[in-house]
Amino acid sequence: MTQVLLILVLLPLAGAGLTWFLGRTNPERARALTLVNTLLSLALCVQMVLAYDPGLKSGSEPQVLQMVVSYPWLGGGGDGPDIRFSLGVDGISLWMIALTGLLMVTSVLVSWTAVTENPAAYYSLMLLLQAGLVGVFAAQDIILFYLFFEFTLIPLFFMIGIWGGHDRRWAARKFFIYTFAGSVLTFLGLLFIVLSHQTMSAQPGQPLTFNIPKLVADITQLTAPANRANYEYWEQVGPWIFLALFAGFAIKVPLFPFHTWLPLAHVEAPTAGSVLLAGVLLKIGSYGFLRFALPMVPEACWTMLPWVAWLSLIGIIYGALLALAQDDIKKLVAYSSVSHMGFCMLGLFAFNTTGMAGGVLQMINHGLSTGALFAIVGLLYERYHTRDIEAYGGMTRKFPVMAFFFVTVIFSSIGLPGLNGFTGELLALMGMFKADRLYAMFALTGIILGAWYSLWLVQRTFFGKFREPIVEHAYHAAPGAPTTAAAHSHGGEHGAGHGHGASHGGHDDHGHGGHGHAAPRGPVGDPSIGDLNVRELFAVVPLVACMFWIGLAPQYVLDRITPSLAPIEKRMQDTRQAALEMRAKRVEVAANGAEAAGQAGSDVALVGWKQSQKD
């Protein structure tokens, strides 16, 4: 079991090679291999989640980092850099990796017939992306993290640039350059942390460590107020480090105003690209804040709190307004991501376990909801080749099953209780409310706007008078996918035998015919285009099942998240305490007529803390 992370990284890598070599001549083999590969990964992910023990202790301390593997990689020995290939999961990365595993299967299934051009290359790239994503979340070494961090860009760059829509080249280039430019600064920040750690520890002969948990632990000790010199040094450089980290992570999230690459990338990306981009890639940003910024430069985080909070708030409201104004389904969903990730950031920057747990949950939830939303929109696009909202209307009548899932997913993203979105938003907002009521209040307006654009989308596409876009090339006749014709003629028998073996999450297969639509009245519109088939159901149902699971019984997930957040909360609160004491001391010194160096700086830092001092 301890090797599971290594396998999770290597399996898709090996699979990518295998798919490329065996699938070039045979596209069906390529996708079948990929599917098997992702299913194996998913099984391993489930195994990993089950094996993770939230109550594990080493000595008296809880041991949140588990399944650690560590091999010497670069350098090592002497006082040179000691870069290790070390992987491990805590309660946060655990769920991010599991989410990746789940969304990969969906991605393969929604690409099944949609990708006809060089599928071997496409699926190989997807598997490479998976390896990168798992690596990012599992990496316990800064260099390794950064390697995987940048590595994720490359497969996605090609996926967008080759298999994307009309404007794909521009979108891919913008996506790559924008995110890359930011992450270079992030790398500088990370290196600075590593180097100053060595400087501060002042122990010659020690190798230069890149190990993330060790850095966090050491920096906590080194910059304690007792070490006055280090403390003040860190107080000074902290904000700069924060800004460097911010450059990369904020673009990834994306925070307002660094979001403009996102809609373009989403709109142009193939469905699987959108699913993975929204579902997992964006989380690297918020994950980065949680993994690096908060524990390593907590004081700077306090200082920057108002900035981040306001940017998140603007993102929530502005993103929702932009979503409201779109007439392209994918763009609408993309802008809603900006809005949702604002909630996530706000939760993380509440700096208490409740808020941060909400933020992490929101990361998972957004992955599930937006992933599923992009998947369904992709399936709709595959049928009609248009993303124009105005072209659709009353689709419920034709696609009752799709409508059921679409409405469910929309409600999950609106934050309806009983589905996942609510749990994350609730915790994030409660945490933020405790920290600062004003932010929470502004954020709450986002839930009104969120309901507005989402329900309006439903009203325009799935409700109302039936209107079907004119299809030039019916998707089942797509060249290069001969088997699909059979698969879809089955789907074309409207309402007959959907969902064989699709039982999931307590639903019987008949259930999918169930909700939010009229009973079959014979085929409507173009008879060659049918409702979701079995494969497509397999793409969507697991996500929806997870939505219900997290909505109805979030405790299993929370039990694993919160122990990993408790130390961060302690770190943040201790920092605030220390800074307040330090300030008091300085005021005293200043009152004694001495020069209070750096006081002006610390005053700024204290703006945020005053709020929390009320109680």
Partner: protein, 705 residues
């Protein structure tokens, strides 16, 4: 007994929902109503047994089903899904499940042959389940969750005929307006959680804790909760969704948008009574909003021609009455508000189902100008609708009379009697209850057993009230509450008059006059089937008798609720002035309606002339005082414009100028100056090379020197 019975009540409708969802489309089809009727019916039987079980048991009980969420740390959150069984919740349950059963039976006839038959019963069962869980919530978050869940069911059922653009739009509107209310509700929950460190009713409704808390926080929290209640219970300014909600199937209008869901706001405020008791100014606010909504909706109802919309505005108006009762600040008013909730559920459900029966026969037409004289065609619907109208209009001795009378009496006391709104009165209320309660239910109250050990809840309440009384009350702009209550009382009386009038206007227009049937009805305009008329008759019995059986004459209702809200059953002398006023108002309203619409000799032209003479007022009423238009102009359109503007700015300012500009900077700063040098002239390169070497040489020599 209670512990085994309580979980069954939500379980049955949930099972019914899942069964119809799974088996509905392929197996059950036209029999999809069976699981719903059986499930909701079983739940109704359990609820009624539970009423007696609670009556026999000395303590309220809270059953934890499972721990929903538990997060430790600085801002700890501990929420479980649990069932809180006390006299208040079981009263609601008994009413809710009873009406839901009748509506389900009725719908099996009404919805017959609809392509979405199974979907209808799935959603109705889901609604009943959610509503039961809402009522049984023992904490605010759970209440909020199911508050949203019933909102979802409302959304789905309003938009049941999703292909009708109006229905789809109305569903969205209902959800959105409710979301605005929920915004306040959520803030209120957060505030209380922050103040008390818990969301459990047991903690936040503890009088001692309340007395020790910061009153400003509680006032703010109460104000926020009211916003939520105003959304769900369709109070001005958030009332606009309810009339549009009539796009849904009529059984849904009866169940969700008249009898049960819309009263959730009233229920929630009643549940939070201990909180409101310490902030009299907020109570005054509730009363003002309620009273204003009541008269506003009644004025709109005067001129509507759509039978269901008349009833919808009447619902808004009656809900306003309930708010007015809650806002009078006395236990009498709260008792009246709650009691009106129950009686209103009966007669309004009856009226809606009657309207549905008419609509069913008229081929979906509900415009009252297009049919008339239906009493000959549909005698049973006619008779039962008459009962409902009389109850709504407040005919003495029928159920509506008793509850409305209680509210008016409470308003009267608040306006004209001394010491009723003044804070020490709460202490007196508490003491009164103490004397009253010692004999029958000594150790009960709304705390649990261990609370009773420290102090008697009634004593604790009076203690808390006394503490509140010491504080200087905050007044709205120095307004004397008595003056406000005086105004409200007379406004309420006027509303009652209008109610009697518009109810009978609708009644006469529909059932009296010459028999006129629209073409849509075809040749088979007929009385509805037994599955529809039997529920009508059962509800009629309720509309006639429930007021007298449970209300003032017997005191059963107040006595039962007293277990949850001590002081509720304090005996009040009958206010004969108010009784007399009610009688006069009823007679006057019905009489005028008869003169204008009931007499065969009154030509519609006369009526039209009369309305025309009122001119602008009639038009304003007919157009719902243009509130929708105002909202569109003030909020919807500007937001829409802002959204479009953002879209433009996002593209222009942020993406093109900012991001595009920055991305062009390197090229501009470095690339552009360097570009002319790459001019492709070998001579230039040679020159540059030579010059550079020269410079290099000089530099080297310089260094060596």
């Amino acid at each position: 007994m209670i512990r085994t019975l309580a979980p069954l009540i939500p379980l049955f409708p949930l099972l019914a929902c899942l069964i119809t969802l799974v088996l509905g489309p392929k197996v059950l089809k036209g029999l999809s109503h069976l699981p719903a009727i059986i499930g909701i019916g079983a739940s109704c039987v359990c609820s009624w047994i539970l009423v007696f079980a609670v009556a026999a048991s000395p303590h309220p009980e809270t059953l934890e089903i499972y721990k929903w969420m538990l997060v430790g740390g600085d801002a700890s959150v501990d929420i479980s899904i649990s069932l809180g069984v006390d006299s208040l919740s079981v009263t609601m349950l008994a009413m809710l499940t009873f009406i839901a059963t009748l509506v389900a039976i009725y719908a099996s006839g009404y919805m017959h042959g609809d392509p979405g038959y199974f979907r209808f019963f799935t959603e109705v069962s889901l609604f009943v389940f959610s509503m039961i869980m809402l009522v049984l919530s023992a904490n605010l978050i759970q209440l909020f969750m199911f508050w949203e869940a019933v909102g979802l069911c409302s959304y789905l059922l309003i938009g049941f005929w999703y292909e009708k653009p109006e229905a789809a739009a109305a569903g969205k509107k209902a959800f959105l307006v409710n979301r605005i209310g929920d915004f306040g509700f959520a803030l209120g929950v957060f505030l209380l959680w922050d103040t008390f460190g818990s969301v459990n009713f047991e903690t936040i409704l503890d009088p001692v804790k309340i007395a020790n808390a910061d009153p400003a926080q509680i006032a703010l929290a109460c104000l926020c909760l009211i916003t939520g209640a105003m959304g769900k219970s369709a109070q001005f300014p958030l009332h606009v969704w309810l009339p549009d909600a009539m796009e849904g199937p009529t059984p849904v209008s009866a169940l969700i948008h008249a009898a049960t869901m819309v009263t959730a706001g009233v229920y929630m405020l009643t549940r939070c009574t201990p909180l409101y008791m310490v902030v009299p100014d907020i109570q005054l606010f509730v009363a003002v909003m309620g009273g204003f909504t009541a008269i506003l909706a009644a004025l709109i109802a005067l001129t509507q021609n759509d039978l269901k919309r008349v009833l919808a505005y009447s619902t808004v108006s009656q809900l306003g009455f309930m708010f007015l009762g809650l806002g009078t600040g006395s236990m009498l008013g709260i008792a009246g508000g709650m009691f009106h909730l129950v009686t209103h559920a009966f007669f309004k459900a009856l009226l809606f189902l009657g309207a549905g029966s008419v609509m069913h026969a008229m081929g979906g037409v509900i415009d009252m100008t297009r049919f008339s004289g239906l009493r000959r065609v549909m005698p049973q619907t006619y008779a039962t609708f008459l009962v409902g109208s009389l109850a709504l209009a407040g005919m003495p001795l029928l159920s509506g009379f008793w509850s409305k009378d209680t509210i008016l009496s409470a308003a009267y006391s608040a306006a004209y009697e001394d010491g009723h709104h003044a804070e020490p009165a709460h202490a007196a209320d508490g003491h009164g209850a103490g004397e009253h309660g010692t004999g029958e239910h000594g150790a009960e109250g709304h705390g649990s057993g261990d609370h009773a050990a420290s102090a008697h809840p009634v004593e604790r309440l009076s203690l808390a009230s006394a503490k509140v009384a010491e504080r200087e009350p905050i007044r709205f702009a120095g307004l004397d509450p008595k003056v406000v209550y005086k105004g409200l009382f007379w406004m309420a009386a006027l509303t009652a008059l209008l109610t009697a009038f518009y109810t009978f206007r609708a009644f006469f227009m529909t059932f009296h006059g010459e028999t006129k049937i629209p073409d849509e009805a075809g040749h088979h305009a007929h009385e509805s089937p037994a599955s529809m008329t039997i529920p009508l008759w059962i509800l009629s019995i309720g509309a006639i008798g429930i007021g007298a059986a449970l209300g003032h004459p017997t005191g059963l209702f107040d006595g039962f609720l007293d277990r949850t809200l001590p002081g509720l059953s304090e005996h009040h002398a009958t206010n004969w002035f108010v009784v007399g006023l009610s009688g006069v108002v009823f007679t006057l309203g019905v009489g005028v309606a008869y003169l204008m619409y009931g007499r065969p000799s009154t030509a519609p032209a006369t009526v039209a002339k009369l309305f025309d003479s009122l001119g602008g007022l009639t038009r304003a009423s007919y157009n719902k005082f243009y509130i929708d238009e105002v909202y569109n102009a003030l909020f919807v359109t500007p937001l829409w414009v802002i959204a479009q503007l953002s879209r433009f700015l996002d593209w222009m300012l942020i993406d093109t100028i900012l991001v595009g500009g920055i991305s062009k900077l390197p090229a501009f700063l470095l690339g552009k100056p360097a570009r002319p040098m790459q001019n492709g002239l070998v001579q230039f390169y040679g020159l540059a090379m030579t010059l550079a070497m020269g410079v290099l040489l000089v530099a080297l020599v310089w260094q060596q020197r």
